[in-house]
Amino acid sequence: MSEKKSIFRKIFRRVIWENLSTALILIGVFMLMQPFAMWMYTYSFIVILVGTIGFVITSHFPD
């Protein structure tokens, strides 16, 4: 039981997931406002949305 708990804690560590969500948001904002490719603009919102929802959830994970 405690082994399971430790694996769970190892996977869902806040630092990793929060940083991943932050990276997604930053990439998404860049994609939304860049002047280079239309396809990046098209997929920007979904990237920002996933990042933002991820950030809100992962910021409640244990350290």
Binding site: E18, T22, I25, L26, G28, V29, L32, M33, Q34, P35, M38, Y41, T42, Y43, S44, F45, I48, L49, G51, T52, F55, V56, S59
Partner: protein
Amino acid sequence: MKTAVKKFKGLSDKAIAWIFITPTLILLLAINIYPLVYAIRMSFTNFYANKIGREPKFVGLKNYKKILGKEEIWEKMQITAHFVCWTLILQALIGLGLALLLNRKFKGNELLTTLIVLPMMLSPAVVGVFWTYLYNPQVGLFNYVVNFFYDFGVFDMIGSSTLAPWSIVIVDTWMWTPFTMLICLAGLRSIPNYLYEAAEVDRASKWQQFIHITLPSVLPFLLLALLFRGIENFKMFDLVVELTSGGPGSATELASINLKREAFEKWKTGYSSAFAVILFVTIFGFGNVYVKVMNKIKER
């Protein structure tokens, strides 16, 4: 009064806290949360606010697909990015510079601070109107001052599609740099003097003192000011509408101006709700990242 105290005496601390918080919560729900949820719901429909009696139909993600597939909106996002990036860069540099200047003690310091802060206190509509006069190619003071230093000839800041985006950057920087300056000044005044004394004992140069003491101490304050300005400028509307109305053509049509046109000129309520949700999620996401970075800098 006595009866009210008696009534409170029977309640727990938690219950009293809830009594005080509830009115604020109700207001927050009514003014912020309800319109937000309503807008999200509308963004999935083909609702037109001017077609009274017509039932809005559920269209799924059609509005989002339309917005994210339109090159026209992409251009508006680039115009917004140009405006936000340049205003933030200029306001950070000039604001910090002015704060460093005003942190020194000299005669007339307080008067100068008051004069610098004045533009921030004006209404954006007023600023927009009088800057259109200043930018006037025939009688405007801006043309005169620029030509005083170098003879460019007559140029129309608001009328030219290449200069107009810079004209709104200049006006916003003029108006809101004092805000950045004030917050940086608060940060500078909170640095204890003994740090500089210790640095001088260690023979640190003025530049080293700036890099290792001043800048790290003032950075959280500067970032906070830039967060506020970034959010405000991302949804900038009034100042630009008064100044250029989004023109010439659509050279200064920011995302929020386009959103207003879609919502209140073409009356595409469902479509514009989807656009508003996209802008909201972007600001919310970016705000979260910014606060996280700011907290990390503070922890250092």
